[in-house]
Amino acid sequence: MSTPDTSYYMNLGYTFFFIVMSIYVASLYIRTRNLKRDLEMLESMQEDENKKKKKS
């Protein structure tokens, strides 16, 4: 009995694996970057509020 050529399915499996992993890692990176931006914006807003309070 000869070994069947199932390399198409192997390539399909590994391609899928690396695509999903890349998407997940990218999602972690993008979410972190967006939250950092939010944090910076909120911190500057808080600083502005503190300054206003001090003036008044």
Partner: protein, 231 residues
Amino acid sequence: MQPRPIALKILDVVSIIVLAISAYLALFFAPTELVMGDVQRVFYFHIGTAWVGLLGFVIAAIAGISYLVTKNMLWDRFEVAAVEVSTVFFFITIVLGSVWARPAWNTWWTWDPRLTTAAVTELIYVAYFMLRTGIEEPEKRARFGAVYTLLGGISAPITFMVIRLFRTIHPIVVGSASGTQEKMGMTGDMKIAFFFALFAFTVIFVDMIWHRLRLSDLQDKVEQLKLKVSM
């Protein structure tokens, strides 16, 4: 946010290296299986992702218990991280299994006990995130999450054990097969690729959990600051 610690940077590099080695062992080092051909090489990543997927669900259940006992939100963040990373890995497991099944069983999917319990487990944890987003109050959300993962965690050992308890066409890799069940035999080189994949995915899992935990910390800070600014 704290800068990325040195240990995490090292773990990132190690994760990439072990993933590359594991892919090399699976794709080139391990011999071609005579009956199934090259598609059998999918098995190394299929088992590796299944291992960390199920491990993460059990860890999430333990984190849930820890939250219920201590009421410390750190456990809730840990639980979310474990569930999210494991859901991604377990999704990959199911799809890789389906890709393997097509040439081996001549079908992409069959309602075999192992495949069914795996699909149910995945859906339980997809629903976890959908339900969590519906709860506004952080403590109520954490309490709900803890109880949910505690109950959901039961599905992980069931999925692992089901091929040993019921008649199934899914091959047994760990442990001994009985009756009509198929036992997957491995040569020495296959075992090296297999055990290295388990090790590699454990390292990658820890790395991803750490990154996801840092993301949760950041989310918490932003939420708290939003409340302060809006008051």
